[in-house]
């Protein structure tokens, strides 16, 4: 596979190999037809969606978003996590996980970089928010909302610092380095006194606003405003991620994921785009961490374990690697299941670990398989090909002469 292999070891086999290649390639169309069949209801739904006019898509989207915003008020009985857990807070958790999954999807799904220490960026964001707002911290204090962009910047910087040495290497080195890094951040939070170890930071800041009853609007018990804030951020991040996807950036990422060497050969500065993916993913992770810290109001070193990191990976994989809508779904699901079905909450790690294995083995496109659209105006072009009579290719013309 690798182009860095030495001279071909088996002289005389080239023709046979080419024939085999060809056979393999010819086989593909039929298998892909099966694959399309397998995608089931979602696949069909997805096709319908793609065929819809833009306006109609927007209408549907607005309706979905409206329902999403209304969820904490509607508190639909079957969906609700009550009586075990407060539903608006559960929604907030789901939104944070969804945000995390969308961020991690940039790294894993788009660029194909397995980051097993994503929790580290989440932790960095949490600590940024905590150390700049909590009265327990000796640092200067800033209003909470400022910590969101700051968390992005800090996490991105750390992402770049970590990415530069490791992203030059093969993907699986990255996986283990990030795994180690996730653990190291936790140990450093224990060892460095300013990060206050298990004691942690209390009374992390919150957005301003006071309710009539003297309780802050963004109290840690009031899930609805936190959910709305996170949902809004999630939607913005989704739109931006969509912009990136349908640009040279997204194409470069997917090209790297598909075949890094070929991408490099096609003029993609692969290293640069990998660092970008890593940094942007880290930024989203950092922001999620800051949101989480704000809502919980308390940050210490205990929750940033690698196990949670792997739950994040499971969220991305569950939804479908590379698919941001899937990531939202996967993230929300990973947060939702233990909160809704408290009886099986204890088994969640086992369940999601098994899900990781089974999905990868039997359904590697995840629960919501969807292909990335990588051209800003691609739909128009494809429509032209489908509808208009295809022009005669130049070469064919030549042959007739």
């Amino acid at each position: 596979m690798s182009t860095t292999d030495g001279p071909t070891p088996m002289p005389g086999a080239k023709a046979a190999q080419a024939a085999a290649n060809r056979q393999a390639a010819e086989k593909n169309p039929s298998t892909s037809a099966d694959a399309a069949h397998k995608t089931g209801w979602f696949g069909r739904w997805n096709e319908k969606w793609q065929a819809m006019p833009r306006q109609k898509q927007w209408l549907y989207l607005i309706a979905i978003v409206a329902v999403a915003y209304l969820l904490p008020i509607l508190n639909p009985p079957i969906l609700s996590t009550e009586p075990g857990n407060d539903f608006p807070l559960a929604l907030f958790s789901m939104a944070v996980y969804a945000l995390v999954a969308v961020g991690l999807n940039i790294v894993i799904g788009y660029a194909g970089l397995l980051d097993l220490g994503y929790i580290a960026f989440f932790a960095v964001g949490s600590y940024t928010a905590a150390m700049l707002t909590s009265p327990d911290s000796p640092f200067i204090k800033v209003p909470y909302l400022w910590t969101l962009p700051l968390a992005i910047v800090v996490a991105m910087c750390i992402g770049v610092i970590l990415g530069i040495p490791t992203l030059r290497l093969r993907g699986d080195y990255l996986a283990i380095v990030t795994l180690g890094f996730g653990e190291i951040i936790r140990i450093l939070a224990t060892l460095i006194p300013a990060m206050k170890g298990q004691v942690g930071f209390q009374n992390v800041g919150r957005p301003p606003g006071m309710g009539e009853d003297g309780i802050p609007v963004f109290a840690n018990s009031n899930g609805t405003p936190w959910y709305w804030l996170t949902l809004t951020i999630l939607i913005i991040v989704l739109l931006l991620a969509g912009n990136l996807e349908r640009s040279r950036v997204g194409r470069s990422w997917i090209a790297i994921r598909e075949d890094e060497d070929a991408a490099e050969t096609m003029g993609v500065p692969t290293f640069k785009y990998k660092v970008w993916a890593f940094a942007l993913g880290a930024g989203v992770g950092g922001m999620s961490g800051a949101l989480f810290a704000g809502q919980v109001g308390f940050v210490n070193n205990q929750k940033f374990d690698v196990v949670t990191s792997i739950l994040f990976v499971a969220a991305v994989v569950l939804g479908g690697v590379g698919n941001k809508v899937g990531a939202v779904f996967g993230g929300a699901l990973v947060a939702y299941i233990p909160l809704r079905f408290t009886a099986i909450a204890e088994y969640k790690y086992l369940i999601f670990g098994l899900a990781l294995m089974l999905i990868m083995i039997y359904r590697s496109k995840g629960l919501i398989p969807a292909r990335n659209r990588l051209l800003a105006y691609g739909q128009e072009a494809y429509a032209r090909v489908r509808n208009g009579p295809p022009k005669k290719p130049a070469v064919a013309t030549e042959k007739e002469v």
């Binding site: 912009n243 003029g267 070469v395």
Partner: protein
């Protein structure tokens, strides 16, 4: 071959290396080429040295895969690089395109040194390639594959793409136009929306060529583009390669199939055991005793 005709490059100096006749399809081709690479300079002299390979040596451990090989590629020609298996063709190719670091020697493109440059920079400098074993981006459509190649000339930054700044939009629009034009050029426009991995083998090879052309190369390197093709497909491919050349591109062709090489190239460099043993026009190469002996005993070869 006889029925075949060639369109003319836009270049006024055309006709340096190979006889050119003016015929009808030229207009189509010209339009396509224009659309595919509107900023490309094609009014340059055919016959200048485009690429110089100087004393290129590649060693793997103790094994000398390429030994002090020198040749030039002239602007506007189709140069064939041939040799028996293990002669070092692909090694030479990989050393030129930056996959391997040559042990010694130089590769110059328009006088500029390519050695030590990152691969993507070499591509941007004007050297594009295809792969012997097709390496498309399987989960992308044909059009998206070509767009990746076109991106080599795009200038949108990550922030620009994030915020959909005007340059990004303009480049996206032009990517669609140029991408479709390129797909038309190689004859697979109707498959623009198909995933690359679902294309037929022949279309995949054509798509690879389109993707490489999309980087707007000065030199297009084709690594055994006819591998796995039947004779009819090979004919088509030869026609395509000629059209590409006539559009003003320079082509380096590594090929195993002697008939194809002899039929399409303007000049041929022959390697054996990592050394250059011949460098001449096809008709001379065909008679060269060294070449003939190098190829003797190659049972599967249809050299004749």
């Amino acid at each position: 071959m006889g029925a075949h005709s060639e369109s003319v490059p836009v270049s006024e100096n055309a006709g340096g290396e190979s006889p050119i006749e003016l015929i009808e399809p030229m207009e189509v081709t010209e339009a396509v080429a224009d659309a595919a690479a509107p900023e490309r300079e094609i009014d340059v002299a055919v016959g200048d040295d485009l690429v110089e390979v100087k004393n290129l040596t590649v060693k793997f451990g103790g094994l000398v895969a390429l030994d002090n090989v020198s040749f030039t590629i002239k602007r506007g020609e189709i140069l064939g690089l041939i040799g028996p298996n293990g002669a070092g063709k692909t090694t030479c190719f990989n050393a030129m395109t930056g996959v391997y670091k040559p042990t010694s020697g130089q590769v110059l493109l328009e006088g500029g040194l390519l050695n030590g440059m990152k691969q993507h920079k070499i591509t941007r400098a004007g050297l594009a390639r295809t792969f012997q074993n097709i390496r498309l981006f399987g989960e992308m459509t044909a059009l998206e594959n070509v767009a990746v190649g076109l991106d080599a000339r795009h200038k949108t930054s990550v922030v620009g793409a994030l915020l959909r700044l005007p340059r990004h939009k303009a480049e996206e629009r032009s990517a669609i136009e140029r991408g479709m034009a390129l797909l038309e050029f190689v004859g697979i426009a109707e498959h623009a929306g198909s995933l690359a991995r679902n294309l037929s083998y022949g279309s995949q090879r054509r798509l690879e060529i389109a993707r490489a052309l999309a980087t707007d190369p000065k030199l297009l390197c084709l690594d055994e583009p006819a591998a796995g093709f039947n004779p009819a497909e090979k004919e088509d491919l030869m026609a395509l390669i000629r059209t590409i050349r006539n559009d003003g591109y320079t082509v380096l062709l590594i090929e195993h199939d002697m008939k194809l090489v002899m039929g399409v190239t303007d000049r041929i460099v022959v390697l054996e055991f990592g050394k250059k043993i011949a460098d001449d026009v096809p008709s001379v190469i065909r008679e060269d005793p060294k070449v003939v002996s190098a190829y003797l005993g190659e049972p599967e070869d249809d050299f004749a």
